[in-house]
């Protein structure tokens, strides 16, 4: 005699005897309304880099949402087994794009990470490293500037070339050595360079005043991109303000589960940019984080309102230029170029068309679309440091999609730039990694030089 369905289900070990209470014990837990939209249809599966890599459901968006929900239902505890899938997530948001019901998986993951980190703080060297970078360094512009100086010294003094020659890098973990190899040349941070400026004036009649987020790592490792951003903005008749009290956006903290620090930084930035109409950002990850500040203040109506007001002012540089109009350069940049969608630009902010249009408006650019352009490169904030193996696998897939003959890969996020540079280096490609505004800036600079040359020619004739 066949068993009844009830008996079968009973034997199937019901996941939990007592699912009456949530196992999220701390404030700011994952928001029920976010998972209520998930009907477990699975349309997200193929969009998820970690699912594609592992083939395992707990490393898929739907699986993670299921687990996060299960903790709230009391079926699971916040423990190492739960933390693993939650932290293996790249937070790339590709699933948000794929989801028919717009489930905010990224938001859920960040909230769950907050619970994990509070319940089980990082210990040992991981904790020390994390707290050194996330607490002791990134939020402090003056310390970042010191680092910038040290890195510059490392590069200019000959220590770098010595280190590279002696093979001292061989004793570093492979992925860190890979990173050292692609470290960009460090220049002066714009925060320092323009510290005596009230604002950097527009080249022509100012049509708008924009405030710029300089970013923490951006201004140290990629201050030339910040410089280009300022040039492109002023070239297009914008006065540019660099508020002094601004700080790190907090994206890395929120990704790592340190939401308290995220809130602290958010408050500082909201105040630093008070009174400004527009906040322009050239790093996709930072822009997305700023736009999502209201998420951090769910339980604080006063700051939530402020955060909402603030987040509406935030705009990615490519979208700002596209929306407000920009001068099309005349000079040619004769390069074969492709574009990589930073996750937090394409999936996070829905900015896809604008940067592509910018690139294609530069004369001479031979643009080729990359297959799966909006698939994560594996950078994902500091994911490539915390999860090097998975990041490497994701990067390998990404590089397979870069067309052979490409000379430049353009993108809008510093994390991606480092990761893609690593990919180029590792897989013996020749493509140069550039930020979209850099290309525009170079074309404008060429225009200026040509005008200068013409004027000289005219005046010498005269």
């Amino acid at each position: 005699m066949a068993k009844s369905l009830a008996a079968q289900l009973e034997e199937a070990a019901p996941p939990c005897a007592d699912n009456s209470s949530s196992n999220y014990l701390l404030m700011d837990h994952p928001d029920e309304n976010k998972w209520a939209d998930c009907v477990h249809c699975g349309m997200c599966l193929e969009s998820c880099p970690t699912y594609l890599e592992t083939g395992k459901e707990q490393h898929s968006p739907r699986g993670r949402v299921h687990l996060i929900k299960s903790v709230a239902e009391g079926k699971l505890n916040v423990n190492a087994q739960f933390a693993d899938p939650v932290f293996q997530c790249l937070d790339c948001r590709a699933c948000t794009t794929a989801c028919p019901a717009d489930v905010d998986v990224g938001g859920l993951i960040e909230e769950a990470r907050g619970q994990v980190r509070k319940a089980m703080p990082l210990k040992g060297w991981k904790g020390a490293v994390s707290s050194f970078f996330l607490k002791g360094l990134f939020p402090h512009p003056e310390r970042m500037q010191t680092v910038s100086g040290l890195l510059k010294f490392y590069q200019k003094s000959g220590i770098q070339s010595a280190v590279r020659k002696t093979g001292a890098l061989n004793i570093m973990p492979a992925h860190l050595a890979d990173m050292e190899a692609i470290m960009p040349e460090v220049k002066q941070p714009v925060q320092k360079k323009y510290k005596d400026y009230k604002f950097i004036p527009a080249k022509g009649n100012p049509k708008a005043r924009v405030a710029m987020l300089t970013g923490c790592i951006m201004d140290v490792m990629f201050s030339d991109i910040n410089e280009s951003t300022i040039n492109v903005l002023t070239h297009n008749d914008n006065d540019v303000v660099i508020p002094k009290n601004q700080t790190c956006c907090g994206a890395l903290h929120v990704h790592a589960g340190d939401r308290d620090m995220g809130r602290k930084l958010a408050k500082q930035n909201i105040e630093a940019f008070q009174g400004e109409e527009k906040v322009v950002v050239n790093a996709a990850g930072c822009g997305c984080a700023l736009k999502e500040y209201p998420e951090l203040f769910k339980d604080d109506p006063e700051w939530k309102a402020k955060a909402e007001l603030f987040s509406e002012k935030v705009e990615d540089i490519s979208k700002y230029l596209y929306d407000t109009g920009y001068e099309k350069p005349i000079s040619t940049v004769n390069k074969k170029i492709t574009y990589h969608d930073a996750c937090h630009l394409a999936h996070g902010q829905g900015v896809r068309h604008e940067p592509r249009q910018l690139l294609q408006d530069i004369p001479g650019v031979e643009y080729t679309e990359m297959a799966n352009a909006d698939t994560c490169c594996g950078s994902a904030g500091i994911y490539n440091i915390t999860n090097p193996e998975m990041a490497g696998a994701v990067l390998e897939r990404k590089m397979e999609n870069v067309p052979d003959e490409i000379e430049m890969i353009s993108m809008g996020n510093p994390g991606c730039m480092l990761q893609m540079a690593m990919g180029v280096q590792k897989y013996g490609r020749r493509s140069e990694i550039v930020h979209t505004v850099q290309l525009l800036d170079w074309a404008y600079q060429k225009d200026q030089e040509n005008i200068g040359a013409n004027q000289e020619a005219t005046s010498s004739k005269g």
Binding site: A2, Q8, V39, C41, E57, L76, F82, C99
Partner: protein
Amino acid sequence: MFRSRKKKQTRKDVHVAQLEAIVGPTEILYEKEDLLSYDCDGFTVHKAMPKAVVFPKNTEEVAAIVRYCSVHDLPFLARGAGTGLSGGAIPLNGEVIISLGKMRNLLSVDYENRQAVVQPGFVNLKLTNSISSKGYYYAPDPSSQYVCTIGGNVAENAGGAHCLKYGVTTNHILGLEVVLPNGEVIEISDGGIPDSPGYDLMGLLTGSEGTLGIVTKITVRILKNPQGKQTVLAYFDNVEDGSRAVSGIISAGIVPAALEMMDKTAIEGVEAGAYPVGHPKDIDALLLIEVDGIKAGIDEQIEEILAVCKSRNVREVKVAESEEERGKWWANRKTGFGAMGAISPDYLVQDGVIPRSKLPEVLKRISEISKESGLRIANIFHAGDGNLHPLILFDSRVPGETEKALEAGTACLKACADVGGSITGEHGVGIEKKEEMRFIFTDEELEAQTRIREVFNPDDLLNKGKLFPTPSRCMDVKKVVKDTVAAK
């Protein structure tokens, strides 16, 4: 490889250890936290925990796992992407789940003979994407084709929007490699030669919902892209006019590639979802009609379709002006089920089939069922072949609502069976509709089918408790289902 944490030092079950020896330590899950993601598929009403999940890389490993389970009396089942809507991959008996997600390669394409060989975990849409540059495609297109696997399609005999003209999965399968429940590997129609003599085993296996064997290699038919394609969108002020237009188009002798319908609630859902088109909010129904084939003749067919729609009081009807517009309409339709999440926390989708001419009658009955149950029902369906998908919207957090939704679902299927229809078009029976099998089969007929299963699966270890009603009398189970739901 990607495990950052150390495995818990729990004492490993002896079976788990043996299975691990077959697939390797990284390709097996057995801890509760890892297994939880496998407690259901796209059918979320029932959940149950597997004993373990294994990820074989090839046929030999599948066969070894099956042999082990068979010798040691362990229940087991196969799982693809887990997008099934009838619970076919839910481990009711604490099964060992054999995930075919790692067998996800395209093995070969033979353009000359128009066939391709794939592993079961190969994603449906990937096949079309892999061959489209040569002008070919794979016809069966279930709405989940972005993620669902061809192995799963074979198990469920999946259909899709375009099966009206091109048929369902079984019409596109040319050969199968199958691991039988005792671990023996057989080839059916090796090399994909059509019309082999003897019994049609391929037809029997396709749609057997994973109860007769596990498919490990599939030879499918691929088709040349149609020369031309036109898509029409028509808005109606009442559902009846829409339904009549459907019958009108078919009786005019046109065989559209697809003929889809959505009602008001469904439109509300898809417009709130991730791919809104901007359909008017106050219409009662819309039709999405696609015609394809050789270029000559398509325009005439479109003219005729427009004329039929107009004669049925269409409010607005338009032809897609670009591939982009067409893509937008289809994305809106194909993500329809998931989009219901935007207007309801849970949904239960039914899958009845009725004669086309009964469409207005049955839709009316469904709207009555909605009123009686107090639950909203959205209708998204393949109107052309009378395959209805009433989506019953409910909130499982409200006590008693899941039960009501199940009842409403059953009532919808009853309505279909009552007009001479069937209880499933393409989603399969699984756990969900096994009781409703009694609406269309007598005890003797069910018994005869169970005996066929016993030939392949004598110990009933493979996907036990699916497809056919288990206890002898219908009423027992209905009560049991309620009890389990209430206990949830």
